[in-house]
Amino acid sequence: MKVLVTVKEVAEADDDFAIEGTDIAESDLEYDLNEWDDYAVEAAVQLAEAGIADEVVTVTVGPERAEETIRMALAKGADRAVRVWDEALDGGFADVASKVALFEAVVDEEEPDLVLGGVQAADTGFGATGVALAERIGFEHAAVVNHLDVDADAGVAHVHRELEGGVEELTDVDLPAVLTVQTGINEPRYASLRGIRQAQRKEIAAKDLSDLGLTADDVESALTITEMYEPESESDAEIIEGDAGESAGRLAEVLRDKGVGA
């Protein structure tokens, strides 16, 4: 079977950052593979190593800059990659439906049996693309999966969904399916030197809207960010000043007052 993994390059803000207009200043952002997607890639590669998946293809919506991140996923064991970008996507804030339109077109080309993606992206935190995609392409789905056991012969994925409060839901999902993967489902590997070398030779197919048979209308976003600001701190904490020794001394007093360590 073929596994398609959605991989996002996410931006993380430095501790000190400036806001320019409706985004954080480019110079204060670091880019990296989305943490949740790292687990999704690992889950897919493990399926390949177990002989369940024949091919693992990643798909990323992002500009050329994202290729460094895509190479990371390839170095960890994905076979090849598709990168979708178009100037129509530049600058705006893509809504869920427009990302789904792009992924739908790639699914039509690749015809995967299983689509894996992270539960959410660390930067925008929507947590919606996978489940919306499943609806669009007529796949089954499960969100927030923290245990995965694929029975390819039976065409079923046995999953656990991580609910709130230390409870897991056990669910059987018919394939083809989209699963959103939670952190902790596995231990994502570090790319080996050999993997990194091999990744340089793996294909990253760049596609724009017309390659996918889409137009700018298909990715017109219903969402516009109108403001971005740092939330006002609601802190009324007593900040204990001084060097490590002084502040530890004061904190020890506080703790003893509360009867701790007495």
Binding site: G125, E135, A143, E164, T171, E227, M228
Partner: protein
């Protein structure tokens, strides 16, 4: 088209609190648009749940008697059908694990935008949602085009609906197609030797500890204070501590007398599990870390400098 539809959430026989919060958010939106507030209860003890959600501000309750537990297929079919039947302008759902298991598909089904994890809403000529980005470092306002949408609301941001309402209650007939995803059971995780929910004092460790071998340092602190060791999610994801030590939304909710957060930034999912602690102490290098927003005492500093000194104080 001004009415708002909220869907209740329940698990293993009990409504979840986020239901009442979503009702409050739904009422706010219905008021802004001059519409009625409808609540759907799907599956389980629908009669009992209908009584539970009949709180002030609810105008109509629709009971869909199908199945016992949450099933995204049934929820999507029920809410989608009801939204069209009452011509709802908005569907408001809890931003929970189950909410996110069908809200995006529902929006796709209805052909409307979805905005998740709202912490504030305003409706003037259109909807403006306040939500966080970049791991809670910033807030944004997002304008939503069109007058119909699906919204999920973060837990703990709206007060729960209270009082007793005088809503109409009716059984709703909905055609629910067969599902290709079947719930076969539930599993409690994180039993084991220690129940961190019983501890009076917790030393809780987060990503700031950097390496597994550094855990010795916080173990030593917990010993010196007679405290129990707990952790935030990344420590458990890495397999450095077992799941029964995890504090947060998907782990344990704890309310100790003293909670000492060491190298924990205070992501919303973590805070949901410990904000009820009597006294919260935070040690973190980043002065902007959200953990300081809920702390009573804070040290802005490197845990590798502060913790050894603190251990010495109690040695």
């Amino acid at each position: 088209m001004a009415d708002v539809l909220v869907a209740a959430e329940h698990r293993r026989g009990a409504l979840r609190d986020v239901t009442y919060e979503a009702i409050t958010a739904g009422r706010e939106l219905a008021d802004a648009r001059g519409g009625d507030l409808h609540v759907a209860v799907v599956g389980g003890d629908v009669e009992g749940f209908a009584e539970d959600v009949n709180r002030e501000g609810v105008d109509a309750i629709h009971a869909v008697d199908d199945g016992e537990e949450f099933d995204h297929n049934a929820y999507q079919a029920a809410v989608s059908t009801l939204a069209d039947r009452i011509d709802a302008s908005a569907v408001v759902l809890p931003n929970s694990v189950n909410g996110l298991d069908y809200a995006p598909a529902l929006a796709e089904d209805l052909g409307v935008p979805v905005v998740t994890d709202a912490v504030g809403i305003e409706y003037d000529d259109g909807l403006t949602v306040t939500r966080e980005m970049y791991g809670s470092k910033v807030e944004t306002t997002v304008d939503v085009a069109g007058d119909r949408f699906v919204l999920t609301v973060r837990g703990g941001e709206w007060p729960p609906a209270e009082g007793v309402g005088d809503a109409t209650v009716e059984a709703a007939d909905v055609d629910i197609p067969e599902s290709g995803a079947r719930v076969t059971g539930f599993e409690e995780v994180g039993g084991g030797d220690v129940d961190i929910a019983d501890a009076d004092v917790l030393v809780s460790v987060g990503r700031g500890i950097e390496e597994e071998e550094n855990l010795e340092l916080v173990e030593e602190l917990a010993d010196a204070l007679g405290a129990t060791l707990s952790a935030s999610r990344p420590i458990v994801d890495n397999g450095w501590l077992p799941k029964n030590r995890q504090v947060g939304q998907s782990g344990k909710v704890v309310t100790p007398d003293v909670y000492i957060a060491v190298g924990i930034s205070g992501a919303v999912q973590h805070v949901a599990g410990m904000k009820g602690s009597d006294t919260i102490i935070a040690i973190n290098t980043d002065p902007n870390a959200p953990i300081f927003d809920i702390a009573d005492y804070g040290i802005v500093g490197d845990l590798f400098d502060v913790v050894p000194e603190l251990i010495d104080e109690f040695a």
